[in-house]
């Protein structure tokens, strides 16, 4: 005890004799039962702490073990289902239309080369309207409308309308959107339009379009300044190929990341 403490106690009227009397007469202790309970709890707490690292895995009952793995199993199942959906949904329409699409694409490609869109303003206008519809509503609308244009394009006496291309493209919105600039009267886009048509053909005719084809198509559209069509194509690419963005060139990645 410091001098300061002694001084404080003296000021507080401390009485050493009284404190001694108090301590001698006040010696009650908790019962042995309470002591035992407290000490047992103290030992048990320490024993639990020591036991935890080594013994816990062996003591986990089977039910508890399953409940530990259940969330991870559920997550894996959900991920698996999602992967299956991504893999199957976009490809089913492709497979369903591939044989017909291949034939009609072959027929339509030369026809479109023979008959420029500017020669048929009525068809060009219809093409523009349809392609914009398809681009907005997505693939199913284009697939629904795929059959009639193919039938119309088949006869040789009817000039092949450029509208055949979007209608027959299994990727629907992609091909339709890609046609919009080439149908118009802007001649400066004609080369790019031809290039895009070739790429679209390669996607249509291939039973399973490769990632390079998709990339080439997106790149061509993007370079041609048709950002909306490029975006639609990229979305279709993502739907068809799970890791689509990885295949994109550096020049497109930043743009692609900005797309939902």
């Amino acid at each position: 005890m410091s001098n300061r403490d002694r001084e404080d106690l003296r000021e507080a009227g401390q009485d050493a004799a009284l404190e001694r009397a108090w301590r001698n007469g006040s010696a009650e202790q908790p019962s042995a039962r309470v002591d035992a309970a407290i000490l047992a709890a103290a030992h048990e707490a320490v024993a639990d702490r020591k036991r935890v690292p080594s013994a816990t895995p062996a003591r986990v009952p089977p039910r508890q073990r399953w409940s530990r793995w259940a969330p991870m199993a559920a997550a894996a199942a959900v991920a698996g289902l999602a992967f299956m959906l991504v893999q199957t949904l976009p490809r089913d329409p492709e497979r369903a239309t591939t044989p017909a699409a291949q034939e009609s694409a072959k027929a339509a490609a030369p026809a479109s080369a023979k008959a420029p869109a500017s020669a048929r303003p009525d068809l060009a206008e219809r093409q523009r309207v349809e392609s914009s519809r398809v681009g907005e509503s997505g693939r199913p609308v284009a697939q629904e409308q795929a059959a009639p244009p193919r039938v119309m394009a088949a006869p040789s006496d009817v000039p092949a309308p450029p509208a055949a291309m979007p209608a027959e493209n299994p990727a629907g919105g992609i091909a339709a959107a890609s046609q919009v600039p080439s149908v118009g009267s802007n001649e400066s886009h004609s080369d790019a339009g031809a290039k895009r048509g070739a790429v679209a053909d390669s996607i249509v005719t291939g039973a399973a379009a490769s990632a390079e084809d998709w990339v080439a198509k997106v790149l061509a559209l993007h370079d041609a300044g048709d950002i909306a069509a490029a975006a639609d194509t990229l979305r279709a690419f993502r739907a068809a190929v799970p890791d689509a963005d990885r295949h994109l060139p550096e020049s497109l990645r930043e743009w692609a990341e900005s797309l939902p």
Binding site: D8, R20, A21, W22, N24, L39
Partner: protein, 199 residues
């Protein structure tokens, strides 16, 4: 080369508590043996000798110490921490059992009244006590302490049972050192008065 204090360190309460926090159950046994009487009597005196409730609160207190073993940090004296827990447990008990009216450890009105009385009787009987130590003395002291207002009784018990110096009592009770002195002075005076006729 610094001195090796490892042999001495376990002697302090703080070192024992740290050792227990690291898994040394024997350190807890030593710590408990040191303080079990003090904490038990702290409750017992505040509860007017109700041993059953005192044991219940005493057990709760030490179970709390056990539960806090890994969080304990020796920022203050172990006894200050221990009696802070004890005091909180006691106030909780009074609040639950008797309502606000008897939670008088925190009742400033009672404290102020008691301290005013202490000042008024100051210097009346301040000589050393040379009482005969025996069973009668102890009985009278215990009875007299039960009559002391709770805040004064608390200061006295924290000092004689907890062994806390005045500044630690002031810190524990969140009051000034002067207030603690005043409370102790009052408690000593009441106890001396109870033994006057034995001199």
């Amino acid at each position: 080369m610094p001195p090796d204090n490892t042999a001495m360190e376990p002697c302090t309460d703080e070192a024992l508590m740290r050792a227990y926090g690291q898994g040394d159950a024997r350190a807890f046994e030593a710590l408990y043996a040191r303080h079990k009487g003090g904490t038990y009597r702290y409750f017992l005196r505040h509860l007017a000798g109700d041993a059953a409730v005192a044991e219940e609160l005493h057990q709760d207190l030490w179970l709390k110490v056990i539960g806090a073993r890994e969080r304990y940090e020796a920022q203050a004296k172990f006894t200050t921490w221990l009696y802070t827990l004890a005091r909180h447990r006691l106030v909780d008990h009074w609040r639950v059992r008797h309502g606000v009216a008897l939670a008088s450890l925190e009742d400033d009105g009672v404290a102020a009244q008691a301290e005013m009385h202490a000042v008024s009787v100051d210097d009346v009987d301040d000589g050393p006590l040379h009482a005969t130590i025996g069973a009668e003395t102890a009985r009278r002291l215990v009875t007299a302490l039960a009559e002391v207002p709770p805040l004064q009784r608390d200061a006295f018990l924290l000092h004689v049972e907890g062994g806390l110096p005045l500044d630690e009592i002031a810190r524990l009770t969140a009051t000034s050192g002067e207030t603690v002195k005043s409370r102790l002075r009052y408690a000593y005076r009441r106890l001396r008065a109870a033994l006057e006729d034995l001199q």
